[in-house]
Symmetry: C2
Subunit: 314 residues, 2 copies
């Protein structure tokens, strides 16, 4: 059995831990296609927040309290950069994390594509699933906002981390998406899957940038595998993060039904919602209501099992 | 009064602290022309050990026990790089230090020459002297050695740090020196000086790479200022470091007289030696014997005063 998951960072990483647990039981192979829209260059370093969140979480090295980054992290380099007045100072760049960024940046400078760099980094972390960036090409999520009365586009990280999304926000733009190609293995992982899952990640800034890579949507709709989405909204609120702010920008209702309709029947074969949302209706899509709180790996693995049941049912 | 000092890293930094103390008293301006032959790129970072040793020491941020690097240093990034198997692992790359390297590397990538980068870094450290790299161009000291029966050229840092100079060593090559130009201000600092001092740095791998930049030797010999060297050898041993191994490679006697003769009367107007070496004779060069142990800043400032007396006398 082959399971392919489209995913963002922290919530997606937690979901993937459940997928891995389920897959171990069923002797299934898992491939995660990970969003790169959050990627950013800072202080000369190439930073891939979502790939790293997944890699660290599945490698058992993430900080479960803070949610992002490495457990036992220290901040000496960040303090130095601030002391030099090097901008930006609002991004959380831990010392351990910087080790990853240095290795990645140097490998990219040597000409390796991000997919190969990710495979090399994963040799250390042994995540137990194959991690693929959605694309090896530059694809960055920028956000059109008003800052101090001026309309401009800022990088997603600046919108998310620096401003906590607290700006008049007009739209999200996936810079470079038009010219991007799926990374090697992405199309194959989707077309060759027995089931494709959309992790309960942010639909607007985690899943949408993956779908924006030309060829990915086609592979999903034309491939034989059922596509099952897992709602990131429970009872009208995002499980974590700021999906509500992102959805509001698009004029989409912050509800399981709203996100299901955003993905739509062209993409989805099934839509897994929480028991709190059992009345959620997505035209043309089979829904199923089960507990969606990822309280621990077992609970998450159970969610995954329910998603697979939904896939088999449809 | 304008004092210009040609210098390497750690010993030179200590000497410069004495020059600065002397200069404060005399209201003199100090310019340090610093060796870049030790500079190296590691893990994608541009590292300038001598410039940093001088900057940290004069900025009061060096580690006086270890001799190099930052006081209160931590090593999280280095451990991470080793965990990824990223080579080299033998170089001491501290977390605080990496902050400096990141700022420098990014400024260089943005097109700023090393001399401007150095000035920018010094805005934080306020060393009290003007620090100039000998050149903005690539100039790296490589060492021709036998490793496992094979003759090859390795970077100076590999010879010094990894092998502690403990290899059959044939010669030192200043790669790029032929095409290098003195950094802006270097020639002017030498020609406009009232006195030029050669710090008691390693003559073979700290001072010689500066002299190897076309135009520096000419500025020294044709400029009006007397050139006073301070012996790095006391009683037949280097004050610190491995000048003995370097001198042996050149077939030069490890003595105050030997190093004085290596610089020679073309370069030197005066040669300051330790009282232990009062019989040292350098043909054509006035010598003077005074205590040369840089036990503290006062003792070092006294050495500098003696060097100035020698300059006035000659």
């Amino acid at each position: 059995m082959r399971i392919t998951v489209l995913t963002g960072g922290i919530g997606g990483a937690r979901f993937l831990a459940g997928v891995r647990a389920y897959a171990r039981e069923k002797k299934a192979e898992v491939t995660a296609v990970v969003n790169v829209g959050d990627d950013v260059r800072m202080h000369g370093l190439r930073i891939c927040p979502d790939l790293d969140s997944v890699m660290y979480t599945l490698g058992g090295a993430h900080d479960p309290e803070r949610g992002w980054g490495r457990v036992g992290e220290s901040w000496a380099v960040k303090e130095e950069l601030a002391a030099y007045g090097a901008e930006p100072t609002w991004f959380g760049l831990g010392d351990k994390d910087i080790g990853t960024h240095l290795v990645r940046t140097q490998m990219l400078a040597a000409g390796y594509p991000l997919s190969q760099v990710t495979a090399a980094l994963c040799e250390r972390w042994q995540p137990g699933v194959t991690l693929l960036p959605a694309t090896d090409d530059r694809l960055e999520t920028h956000v059109v906002v008003d800052v101090d009365g001026e309309r401009k586009a800022i990088h997603f990280q600046e919108w998310w981390v620096r401003y906590r999304g607290d700006l008049p926000t007009h739209r999200f733009v996936f810079v470079g998406a038009d010219a991007a190609k799926p990374a090697p293995g992405v199309t194959e992982a989707i077309e060759g899957a027995d089931v494709v899952l959309l992790a309960p990640s942010n639909p607007v800034v985690s899943i949408a940038p993956i779908l924006a890579v030309p060829g990915v949507r086609e592979a999903l709709s034309e491939g034989p595998a059922p596509v099952i989405g897992v709602s990131p909204i429970i009872g009208g609120s995002p499980v974590r993060g700021m999906a509500d702010k992102c959805l509001a920008t698009l004029g989409v209702e912050v509800s399981a039904a709203g996100v299901g309709a955003l993905y739509g029947e062209d993409l989805l074969d099934g839509w897994l919602v929480d028991t709190a949302d059992e009345k959620a209706d997505v035209p043309g899509v089979t829904t199923r209501a089960v507990p969606l709180w990822m309280t621990d790996e077992n609970a998450t693995a159970k969610m995954v099992a329910e998603a697979i049941i939904l896939a088999d049912k449809r």
